[in-house]
Symmetry: C2
């Protein structure tokens, strides 16, 4: 007997929906000063997290997010069957060095800023299929390591265009199990690489919005739903620019999500006072918002059913410098109150 | 009812083992000139694969591997439910741009050169759990894009130490389904990050051997097996240096694998005439050897049960330049004749 069910073209519905039994968020100073700052589990005043460099800082932050989620669940690292994790850095060094001392079997993932959705999809699959009793999902990003990786050395103090987003310093970790707390992952829609030919790597909202549109549209079609069937449709880090494009693109396809749409990148910072232009972004953005804001609302039953859609821009400095476009990808996860 | 079964600490046995219904290998000129050259599906005389740069060449090669595997299976891209893919480049650009025109939902993976094992594990999980009727797994590496990413510009013509391996220009793709050809994935053992503190990024065999040891040992313990229960235990790209270390480490743990061990990196090149020092390496090495050499032997029943263990060295130029060690990871997949 097959436990899980393929739905439509790209979606899965779990016969036994895994529960998110605990979640944790660790963020930097700036995120702690934002409008939802008080909701995070830990705000670190030192963005180096006590380490020698930005990459190790990101690893330390991610490690702490995992350990905090484990502690909340009352579990030891040795009880976690496998961990699905990723970050934005080349060759996933933040994740490799973060999980090393935890001794948990690791599936390393890369989906740019969509990785939080990818990791939750696969962790849920591992639990739903009976391949894991407890599975973990973690992602992280760090403003300084990301700027160094993708843009300019911080010391340049370069100007940022208004369409640019600000990479969130943060890591969110989640523990999944067959039963537990009152939020469960009922299914997912796996994203495709969608390329509208946008070449402006500083306007990632525009790069990712077509992918978000594609995945949300496919989810609605696969399940025969309307946007109003969700209490919220929450994208990862489209920001203000990407949100407008997404809403327009979905309207062209016959769906108006404006009533239920929310974007983690828009919510995490105060646009005026924090100088973050189009909003927040990064693997950590959607992860910490899910942990600190979205899940509590689902657990309390304020939102009964949420479509959580982390969005990623697929580029490296090499592909960008070689003149390639910046395609997007978005992975949707359905999270329900139960 | 749960279909799949957790075995021991880190392993899974599938109740319905997915079949590898087709496989394809595309390689460069040097690999075609090696001892198993005639077994590959396509040998490209032009290592640029008709593209403008090495990264796009790798994408073109990977795309062709997927298309060849699809053709052999008599399937269209639209029939593949999801693809698990990865490569060695920062932010997986080879994979992102390779799969773009195929329009297949993508799970991007990074496990360095172990990614072939990771992709097969997860593709098998997707099929076994009923989340996919057809799933694909693909990995690639390219000598020139990898040298550019990790080491020196090719134009330097730098000397290579004898412990160094040669990155394979090649891509292997696999299509999995619930039924089909006579080779199936009966289970897997997921690897941990294992760090012996080795800092020599040009001796990747030494960096990865402890991880291979850890995963193979765990597989034998989880299933209560002896090395002789496998017709072959095949590592990905330890090369000559890593092979010796692996054999010694496993002997210390009470297992002698010398009778059944084989390493894809050792087999793919002729050590004397091809100047490849310790052997071949890269995400593509184990993938093309699985497709062209290992699977045909399993299908013919020459080997009834194989433990296939791609091995990865977890580093980036950033982590290396910051003085970090090079940990390893290895993902084992059990492939059986049926």
């Amino acid at each position: 007997m097959r436990t899980d069910q393929m739905i439509g073209k790209q979606s899965v519905r779990f016969a036994c929906a895994p529960h998110i039994i605990s979640a944790a968020s660790v963020v930097g100073k700036k995120e702690g000063e934002g409008p939802v700052g008080r909701a995070f589990d830990r705000i670190c005043e030192d963005d180096r997290f006590g380490e020698d460099n930005w990459e190790q800082a990101e690893s330390a932050m991610q490690n702490e997010a995992i350990r905090t989620a484990l502690k909340k669940a009352g579990l030891l690292p040795s009880q976690i069957r496998c961990l699905f994790g990723g970050d934005l850095l080349g060759q996933l060094i933040a994740t490799s060095f973060s999980v090393e001392d935890l001794n948990i079997p690791l599936f390393g993932l890369y989906g740019a800023c969509s990785t939080c959705g990818e990791s939750l999809s696969l962790a849920a699959l591992a639990v739903a299929s009976g391949c894991a009793d407890y599975a973990a999902a973690v992602t992280s990003s760090h403003f300084a390591s990301a700027e160094k990786q993708f843009r300019f050395p911080l010391g340049y103090g370069n100007q940022r265009p208004l369409a640019a987003t600000w990479t969130v310093t943060g890591s969110g970790a989640f523990i999944l199990a067959p039963d537990g707390a009152n939020a469960r992952i009922s299914g997912f829609t796996t994203g495709k690489v969608v390329d509208f030919g946008v070449k402006d790597s500083l306007n990632m909202g525009a790069c990712m919005a077509p992918a978000a549109c594609d995945t949300i549209y496919q989810n609605l079609m696969d399940f025969g739903r309307q946007p109003s069937d969700y209490d919220k449709i929450i994208t990862g880090d489209l920001g203000y620019v990407g949100q407008t494009i997404l809403t327009d693109l979905l309207k062209e396809k016959g769906f108006d999500i404006s009533e239920v749409h929310m974007d983690c990148g828009i919510e995490i910072y105060d646009r005026e006072s924090q100088d973050t232009h189009s909003g927040g972004s990064g693997c950590g953005c959607s992860a910490v918002m899910l942990s600190a804001v979205i899940l509590p609302n689902i657990q309390k039953g304020v939102w009964k059913r949420v479509l959580f859609v982390p969005t990623g821009a697929l580029l490296s400095t090499v592909s960008f410098n070689e003149g390639q476009s910046v395609p997007g990808i978005a992975h949707a996860v359905m999270i329900e109150h139960c």
